[in-house]
Symmetry: C2
Subunit: 209 residues, 2 copies
């Protein structure tokens, strides 16, 4: 089917949410861990993490500060300036998904979904112990998207934890071996199978197609 801009506007709201959240393709499944200045932890699933640069190592993610669920995450990041991003593996997609329920400020999603807080060095933000690839970040820029009031939070990586057995000498990471999950739309979870790895592309070295 071909939907025009007007057709999309006229879709039933939930159907439109499902469709437009699905059409970008597979999204990375990550949990963002935070702690308020008063010590209350929070954990939220996010599917909008995006690489912004490698030197310095910058990672962004999108949120609506006015939404009920990510608001605690946003407030905690603004209060403390630090947060963690943790891969969601196939073994705990259900727990990860249910962090999106609307818990009260004083309820920690860690307890509610039975995931475990973990801390490294002086970082005050909680990591997810069950996650094998995870990082802490310090907030370095907040970008306002005027057209619909969303924001992108940008962090610089402070600590990065990668299991030795999934990374090659060249720095390639095997997501199949990690059993990291992907997300489609708002509530569908996918496993990953490595298909192929190609060399750096040069036009003088094009293969046969």
């Amino acid at each position: 089917m071909l939907l025009t801009n007007q057709d999309i506007k006229e879709l039933e709201k939930v159907k439109r949410l499902n469709i437009i959240n699905s059409i970008t393709g597979i999204k990375p499944a990550n949990l963002v861990g935070t702690k308020s200045a008063s010590g209350q932890t929070n954990l939220a699933i996010i599917s909008s993490v995006v690489h912004l640069g490698s030197n310095p190592a910058l990672i962004g993610f999108i949120m609506r500060p006015t939404g009920t669920v990510p608001r605690h995450t946003y407030e905690n990041i603004k209060e403390t300036g630090v947060y963690t991003i943790n891969h969601v593996h196939e073994s705990f997609i259900k727990q990860a998904h249910y962090t999106s329920a609307k818990f009260d400020r004083e309820e920690s999603e860690f307890n509610a979904v039975k995931l475990t807080e973990e801390y490294f060095d002086s970082c005050t933000a909680p990591f997810v112990k069950e996650s094998q690839l995870k990082m802490s970040l310090s907030l370095v820029e907040e970008v306002s998207i005027k057209i619909n009031g969303t924001i992108m939070l940008i962090g610089e990586i402070q600590q990065l934890i990668i299991p030795d057995e999934v990374i090659t000498e060249e720095g390639h990471i095997d997501l199949s071996k990690l059993k990291t999950a992907g997300i489609s739309g708002l509530n569908s979870y996918y496993g990953l199978t490595h298909l192929d790895t190609f060399p750096y592309a040069r036009k003088e070295e094009l293969p046969d197609f």
Copy 2:
């Protein structure tokens, strides 16, 4: 292993690129199609497409306007205000990857990698015929990321093409059936297998974990 911010800065450049491009998890594989005002087409693989909102339907992607490869894409979008985003399926990951070679301005990646231009209605930007899920967008906002000079281009969907057989009545799209691919790092491609779909999460209806 645990890498600190300083450890990351001291990594060899290519290894750092590979690592930091991989740690966000799986990334969506899409091709962006553009045409210059003078009629030259361009096609570029992008892994940073992100959902920004459903009403209006807004999609963003990240680029470095100073890079050689995406520069033609950026110039064409600025000239014409329109572009397409096309899912990369497993059947043409190799062609899609090699659009990242540095072709000259007057060379079309469509010809070089043997993918086929397709047009709908009055949209001047080329779609990828081999792609089954694709959309055209009009540029609505350009966001500057100060800390490293990257930009996010935001488009509003004008046309959206989805095969009838992969979408449910509720608007869920089956990426396994579509055989849409994911990307890890700069050059590894992954297939997707549906694991599970969970209901909208309510704290009164938590399942057993």
